[in-house]
């Protein structure tokens, strides 16, 4: 593999990893709140969280472009502090994070729902406060669903195309990811590079599937 292919692959893997780590704590918190709490506007929050899953990625990308563009209040505020998102690797990170967030939340949420609330009640009668109940009972019992959600989110981030190209563009060596590069190489008629990257994605897909299968098996065992 050429240096260019390596750069594209490692850049994509690294940014997808960063995106997954970024959404992990927020995703766990949102998933837990959705699983355990009820309030008047819950459906609205659920819809907002799931929106990137049902909207065309390009449309989500446009929303992000409008939010983080220099002319919007958010973008201007960030620009004043030296943070540029649009057409920048940070844009790739944000596009991946937003697009994969619903998948993590869905998976983690159903894992939390499956934890018997009576175990949490018993923990409270044993003197445990909320944070301890969460970290000593709920999360350890839901970890498989959370990890499965991370795998899903990571795979989604690697495959992200539409939102990324809207927010971060397709700048070789700067914001070009695996998916964007495959598209570019095909457009330019560089079939060899495109097929090499295809091979890379197939290997990555195999690893992801193997990991999630293993996860499912360990669940059956206990």
């Amino acid at each position: 593999m050429s240096a260019e292919i390596w750069q594209i692959t490692l850049f994509s893997l690294a940014v997808a990893l960063a995106s997954t780590l970024l959404i992990l704590p927020i995703g766990i918190a949102v998933a837990w709140v959705l699983a355990r709490k009820n309030w008047a506007g819950k459906t609205f929050v659920e819809t907002i969280v799931m929106l990137p899953l049902v909207m065309p990625p390009v449309a989500t990308g446009l929303v992000l472009l409008k939010i983080f563009g220099r002319r919007s209040p958010v973008g201007a505020w960030l620009y004043d502090r030296g943070v540029e998102v649009v057409f920048n690797p940070k844009g790739v990170l944000i596009a991946m994070a937003v697009m994969s967030f619903p998948l993590l939340v869905r998976s983690a949420r159903s894992a939390f729902v499956e934890v018997d609330p009576r175990l949490e009640q018993i923990a409270s009668t044993l003197g445990a406060a909320g944070p301890r109940i969460f970290f000593a009972v709920t999360l350890p019992l839901a970890w498989r669903g959370v990890v499965a959600g991370c795998l899903l989110a990571y795979s989604r981030a690697l495959g992200e195309f539409g939102a990324t190209i809207m927010v971060a563009g397709n700048i070789p060596g700067r914001t070009q990811t695996l998916s964007l590069a495959i598209y570019s190489f095909v457009q330019l008629g560089q079939d060899h590079e495109a097929l090499t990257l295809l091979g890379v994605t197939i290997v990555l897909a195999f690893i992801a599937v193997a990991l999630s299968e293993r996860l499912a098996r360990s669940k059956i065992k206990t």
Binding site: D116, R118, L119, Q121, I122, A123, S124, T125, L126, G127, A128, A129, R132, A136, V137, P140, L141, T222
Partner: protein
Amino acid sequence: MLLRCRIPLSTFALEVDLALDSRVAAILGPSGAGKTTLLEAVAGLRHIESGEIEIGGRTLFSSARGIDVPPRERAVGYVPQDPTLFPHLSVRGNILFGTRNAVSRNGSTEFSLEHVVALLEIGQLLDRSVHHISGGEAQRVALARALLSRPRLLLLDEPLASLDIGLKERILPYLKRVRDELAVPMIYVTHNTVEALSLADWMIMLAHGRVTAQGVPHAVLTSGAVLDEIDSGLENVFEAVLIDSNADDGRSRVRLESGTCLFIPYTPKPLNSRFQIGIAGDDILVATQKAENISAGNVLEGTIRGLDIAARQAILRVDAKEEFYVRLTPTAVRRLALSVGVNVYLIIKTRSCVILGG
């Protein structure tokens, strides 16, 4: 201890008003009477519409004063019917779960890990996964977990109900040890009169969310008001000492506190071991003359001290050095002309004497 609460349920409301001063209070009643709801309310796991809960002088809930202490600060140990152990922790991890918060809650030393583990004989289980222990062991682990959080009150929800008879017999002595060796009051939900009689010093009958009777267990069980609600039979429970055993004859002999001796089915227990025996009130025959040539191993002479005839049955209280309760049909009472003061013989089959609590 004061339990006064109103909790609306789907078809009726749980409304109780109890002032308890007992070591072990047993709550009996048919399923769906609100027994578990009451325990959950005391533990703080169930919303109470109105009322007041006070344990050992400390108010845990008061709708009038706006007090609602969260479960984690109540120091109430709760052992639900299904032991509900933490599946991701070892036995040790489970029983140590509550210790972190325990020291500040109750300073006594009798709740040390060593003491509780020895008391409940779970030492050899400590490093096992909770998936690899039996139902009876799981109950003991749940009990140890609750005790090690150093509760001021222990709530037990039918801890023996989900187990088969053999296991029941083995777990009862542990509950007695907890009662006798740890000074922690208990509220014990059951539908089994044998358990209630051998553990409790106060009994509460609950039906459709209301207390229908309460008092010392024997008195409650033999009062006409509750006879129809008990399905497992009137029980006689005695402290017994093993004085003789003969495997070939298939029977052993015990001496009760009054000195009365009874034959019971053979037990391999060592001589002089102490246990309780139970005799169902339905299993005792009454004769007005001494019967000869009968197969029953035990014939005791006594005097009728009480006679309580309800709609379909009669409860006889007979003083035969020990006090026996016998359940007969009203017809039998008429036919034998039984009344207070009459001398009778109680005929008890050896096989009707059951060893309680292993």
